[in-house]
Symmetry: C2
């Protein structure tokens, strides 16, 4: 995001998190860090990169006024590692983390995306050997168009599939079990799905 | 299967099902029909193509001696249409239909496969524009090798991924929600996933 010219603030529960400070030191004036609440205030667009089990609490620590009308790209997955590997989903089938966030913060424009690939693939899908697919779910068409433009022009995604409203976050979050299994079988997280017609 | 030279008996709850009779009439001496129990007795290899909600009952109608030591390719999915479209899964996340069948019939060699594609793709993946993937899950390595050979030599699958034991049936059954959503978005069931590295 910084390479694309954006100002980026990385949040954590307390300001001054060691990893955030290291990242800021490496990335110059465009990079800053602070609490989740400070990030929510700072950003024109928000990205939820927290662990799924902590996403609602992280967002609750923000001032509601700082969430209203903003786009939140929700890349988190509701993985439950409490019973070891492989993780299960703490919510699925009839609900999803994306829907829970949207219900809890009706003023946010939640766009579920990027949750089906590794972080290195999110921002550089062109490193794979062929075109692969990324999904969008959300209730706000304009917000989805804005996110799609970031994915396309910013990151280089060419196959972007709009699955529908935020309830379709269920179907991409339920991809995680096979994604994790394939990571274990193949020995790498650097892969993605394509849709072959 | 008949084109490959196999004798095939199609089962239903009662012998003489109208659709089975029509299929037999079209397919000559290699085709026959009967009850699920008669099919279980007849087959060297069994294929569960029943609706997921009826699979256990269909198998329970067989003589247990006719199930022991046989391979069952389980292509069913535990879809629950009782609340309308899209269906939910009647079991997922911490269990699967494949595991339920294996637990209920320990003597069966259950191989979950083909449940992630439309019937027309199952037997002819070459109709798609590029190579796509099919998965295997099961506890018996020799049974999986036998099924893989049918997929490869019989149907033309080239990308066959063994995900592991029958508990990995969870991860392919949980592909159904996104498969159904993509079918609705794209307007066709004639697609499949590929894995891009």
């Amino acid at each position: 995001l910084i390479q694309l010219g954006h100002q980026v603030k990385m949040g954590s529960r307390k300001a001054g998190h060691e990893k955030a400070l290291t990242w800021v030191a490496k990335n110059g004036a465009a990079a800053s860090q602070g609490t989740f609440a400070e990030c929510a205030h700072f950003g024109e667009m928000l990205i939820n990169c927290t662990a799924g089990g902590g996403s609602i609490d992280a967002l609750k620590s923000a001032d509601l006024n700082d969430l209203n009308s903003k786009i939140l790209i929700d890349i988190a997955n509701p993985l439950d590692f409490s019973h070891g590997m492989p993780p299960t989903l703490s919510v699925c089938n009839t609900d999803s983390l994306g829907e829970q966030i949207q219900r809890t913060f009706p003023g946010l424009k939640v766009v579920k995306s990027l949750n089906t690939v590794n972080a290195a693939i999110m921002v550089n899908p062109g490193q794979l050997s062929a075109e692969s697919v990324i999904f969008l779910s959300g209730n706000d068409a304009a917000a989805k168009a804005t996110v799609a433009e970031l994915l396309r022009s910013g990151f280089g995604w060419t196959a972007i599939v709009d699955l529908g409203d935020i309830s379709t976050a269920r179907v991409t979050e339920m991809l995680l079990p096979i994604w994790i299994r394939l990571m274990l079988v193949q020995g790498t997280p650097l892969f993605n799905f394509a849709i072959i017609r």
